[in-house]
């Protein structure tokens, strides 16, 4: 059964001076789960984009079922039975699921009209065969993320894929969702389909893979099976050095509450109630984590607390003072820092240089200024200290921040917020989409700053992150706080996952 279905030989790909793939070879056997792991920028996505026909390689060849193939566009790859499920779903929000699946692959009738009935029947058949159940007539924008992923998988199956590439499929799922996905993957491989999994989550790799290929800096550093390795060895191959996933925690004193939220209600941008009568408090020196499925109201809650969204009702008290309607600028002056979820659009100005970005939001609070103009010297000094203390890799602080990698941008933003003697930090998804080394670094900084007595309100869609860092965990479900749990070693992902899905009250 295990014939080699896909082979890549000596693939090279350059983007200008950057080498994304250097002599990468890969053999994938039919009916197996083949994981490709590596840090961000290791060349995983480039390799997959070459295999799925989006990029053309500068050198090397691809063989499908022993036959030499050249892909000019994604359609050619689709015809050879290769289908890719992208990390950012390639779906049309305003269209129905059925229309999404038909796009570019329309079944026609009467010489030109869409034959929705026939398509729906064909899709239902495929979905049933592989154990998926998706509502075809609903609009994509109405469906939860886990279902959208199923839609994507059914889409590639509908287009006749034999080899299914999944790019970071678990990053958007709850533990239960991940379990469901893994069951689906096992079922698919049992039916003879081949799955290529791109990920950086080592635990999952060990659980699901038959074969593992490790990439580092565009070069293959290992071809293994789960039996002959473990998570630490894989991490070594990925990063090239020892990685400590267990952050160093020390005993610390958690004191009186610093931020109190009472009965807070806020509406989302679509006019629906997203935060429903939420009450909680953050104590001095405490890391309070908020977990929840994306879109459970965490974003709106944070925006309401920081003043980016007017709360409908309720009060926010900070150090005994009512700050419900205080502007973000005043809040910064009161020593509240904020690391937003979207570092590119909210966290920084990609067109401005590092200095400007480092004082952004603090140009008033911190008085980086002479009476009328910005104090360039002090700002540069401050920027240098951030760059140094937060290991930002940059040649010149006058460079645009947009030219840095995601990890370095994030380090700069974290550095900016952490270096202002703030008493409360509101942090959203601090490690989204950045590499293992940077994650480890930022995690340790968060632990350290809480150690110094700073309170941290941490929102993350990465459950592992919340569990690793928090002293206490709130779980949000559907705009409400479903659970308020002390983070003891006994607490496991399954329990939190159930709360996240509203399964436990």
């Amino acid at each position: 059964m295990e014939d080699i279905i896909l082979e890549a030989r000596h693939i090279c790909k350059y983007f200008g001076a950057l080498t994304a793939n250097d002599d990468v070879s890969l053999s994938v056997r039919q009916g197996t789960v083949h994981s490709i792991i590596g840090e961000n920028g290791a060349g995983k996505s480039t390799l997959m984009n070459i295999i799925s026909g989006i990029y053309k390689p500068n050198g090397g060849e691809i063989l499908v079922k022993g036959k030499h193939v050249v892909f000019r566009n994604p359609n050619d790859a689709t015809k050879c039975g290769i289908g890719m499920v992208h990390q950012e779903f390639m779906l049309f929000q305003e269209l129905t699921v059925l229309e999404n699946l038909m796009m570019g692959f329309e079944t026609k009738k009467l010489g030109g009209f869409l034959n929705k009935k026939q398509a729906a029947k064909d899709i239902q058949e495929i979905a049933e065969k592989y154990g998926f159940s998706i509502p075809l007539d609903k609009k994509v924008s109405e469906l939860p993320v886990s279902l959208l992923q199923q839609v994507e998988i059914v889409k590639v199956l509908y287009k006749g894929a034999e080899i299914i590439i999944l790019d970071e499929p678990t990053s958007v799922l709850t533990p239960q969702g991940i379990e469901g996905l893994f069951q689906a993957i096992r079922y698919l491989t049992k039916q003879g389909k081949t799955v290529i999994l791109i990920t950086h989550k080592l635990k999952e790799v060990m659980e699901i893979s038959d074969y593992i290929t490790v990439l580092k800096n565009g070069v293959v550093t290992g071809n293994l099976t789960p039996d002959e390795t473990d998570e630490h060895k894989l991490a070594n191959l990925m990063v090239g050095r020892q990685v400590l996933f267990n952050t160093q925690k020390h005993e610390k004193k958690i004191a009186e509450p610093i931020l109190e939220i009472d009965n807070l209600t806020a509406f989302g941008s679509d006019g629906t109630e997203k935060v429903k009568h939420v009450s909680f408090s953050v104590r001095k020196g405490e890391i309070l984590g908020i977990a929840g499925v994306a879109g459970s109201g965490q974003g709106e809650l944070i925006e309401a607390i920081f003043g980016l969204r007017n709360p409908e009702s309720g009060t926010i008290t900070y150090k005994g003072e009512n700050i419900t309607t205080t502007s973000p600028r005043r809040k910064r002056e009161k020593k509240i820092g904020y690391v937003p979820q979207d570092r590119i659009s909210t966290g920084c100005n990609v067109h401005a240089n590092l200095i400007e970005n480092c004082i952004m939001g603090y140009h008033v609070a911190h008085k980086f200024k002479t009476p009328w103009l910005l104090g360039k010297e002090e700002a540069s000094l401050f920027t240098r200290s951030v760059v140094e203390n937060y290991q930002v890799k940059v040649q010149d602080i006058h460079n645009k921040i947009g030219d840095l990698s995601g990890g370095n941008i994030q380090k700069t933003i974290v550095g900016r917020e952490f270096s202002q003697n703030n008493d409360l930090l509101i942090i959203e998804d601090p490690t989204r989409g950045i590499d293992v080394g940077a994650i480890e670094f930022i995690w340790q900084k968060i632990i350290d700053i809480a150690q110094e007595g700073v309170s941290v309100l941490l929102v993350s869609h990465e459950l592992g992150e919340v569990m690793e860092l928090s002293d206490r965990i709130l779980v949000m479900y559907n705009g409400e706080i479903a659970a308020n749990l002390e983070n003891t070693p006994e607490l496991d992902e399954k329990t939190i996952g159930l709360y996240m899905l509203g399964g436990k009250t």
Partner: protein, 301 residues
């Protein structure tokens, strides 16, 4: 006065006046769905109005006027498309440039071809005739509103229906909607984004060309300077109010046409004429406000 509001003559005028706005609005709706913001529609309508007049004059045939109008509409789309889709210019800047130059361009051509200023009237310019539909005689009130309209008015109705079907029942419409919704997903589905953006532009050009043709060849058989007088802008508004849905955009057009028809009727009353003539535009703003009332409470920061 209330009698005037819903009299047969006002409503019949509404149907007549809705045709050019509707044709252009349907064209704009296709652009809207493909996420092309084409404020230059006004220039399409004006230029086509001129060329339709010229075509009709040259061949002494209204149909050739329509052909000329449509070709000039497509040519305008080509100009817009080359700048916006290939040179990646800002669509608003290009649209405004086209609108501003169209007035001068058509006036210049008018002077060079017809050697007149202000307006062109010539017996060689032929209009489309009215059509009598016997079946409609049997329906009271509605029948007399809809009957005996210009051929182009019926064409406009037909276009609305066909556009609605094409938009929602054919692969072409699906892809147009897909392009506007998510370009990346479109590419991954193996569909050329550029091709369908061009296709939507061509549809806009053809329909705006037909809309321009309505102005001189719907009975009056003359071209006047800046004849479009904001009809293209109204059409863009209608398409946006209808969120690119042909049928909804058409209803928005009917509201504008009704205001337009009223302004003709109201001129007999002692209301300042400037105010009466401004009615369609005031109504545009009102309709925009009303349709977006729901947005008011969403973003309350």
């Amino acid at each position: 006065m209330l009698q005037l509001l819903f009299s047969i003559s006002t409503l019949s005028a509404m149907v007549r006046l809705s045709a050019p706005i509707a044709l252009a609005a349907i064209g704009s709706a296709y652009g809207h769905k493909a996420k092309i913001f084409n404020i230059g529609l006004e220039s399409y309508v004006l230029t086509s109005a001129f060329f339709a007049t010229w075509g009709s004059y040259l061949f002494e045939n209204a149909f050739m006027g329509l052909v000329f109008g449509i070709i000039s509409g497509i040519a305008m789309s080509a100009v817009f498309g080359i700048f916006v889709l290939h040179f990646k210019s800002d669509p608003i800047v290009i649209g405004i440039a086209m609108n501003l130059s169209a007035w001068g361009f058509t006036t210049l051509l008018m002077y060079n071809i017809f050697h007149t200023r202000g307006s062109v009237m010539d017996s060689r310019i032929k209009s489309f005739g009215t059509v009598h539909i016997p079946f409609l005689d049997r329906i009271p009130f509605v029948g007399s509103i809809l009957n005996n309209q210009n051929a182009l008015v019926y064409l406009a109705f037909l276009v609305v229906i066909i556009a609605q079907i094409v938009m929602y029942k054919t692969p072409f419409g699906l892809r147009i909607r897909g392009v506007g919704s998510n370009e990346e997903a479109m590419q991954s589905a193996g569909v050329s984004v550029l091709k369908y953006k061009w296709a939507s532009l061509i549809v806009t050009g053809v329909l705006a060309g037909a809309a321009g043709t309505c102005l001189p060849l719907c009975g009056i058989s003359m071209f006047t300077e800046n004849m479009s007088a904001g009809k293209g802008f109204l059409a863009v508004s209608a398409a946006r109010i209808g969120k690119g849905d042909p049928l909804k955009s058409f209803f928005a057009c009917l509201i504008f046409a009704f205001a337009d028809a009223l302004s003709v009727g109201l001129q007999g009353f002692s209301i300042p004429s400037q105010l009466v003539l401004a009615a369609p535009y005031i109504i545009t703003i009102l309709v925009m406000c009303l349709t977006n009332l729901g947005e008011l409470r969403k973003e309350n920061v």
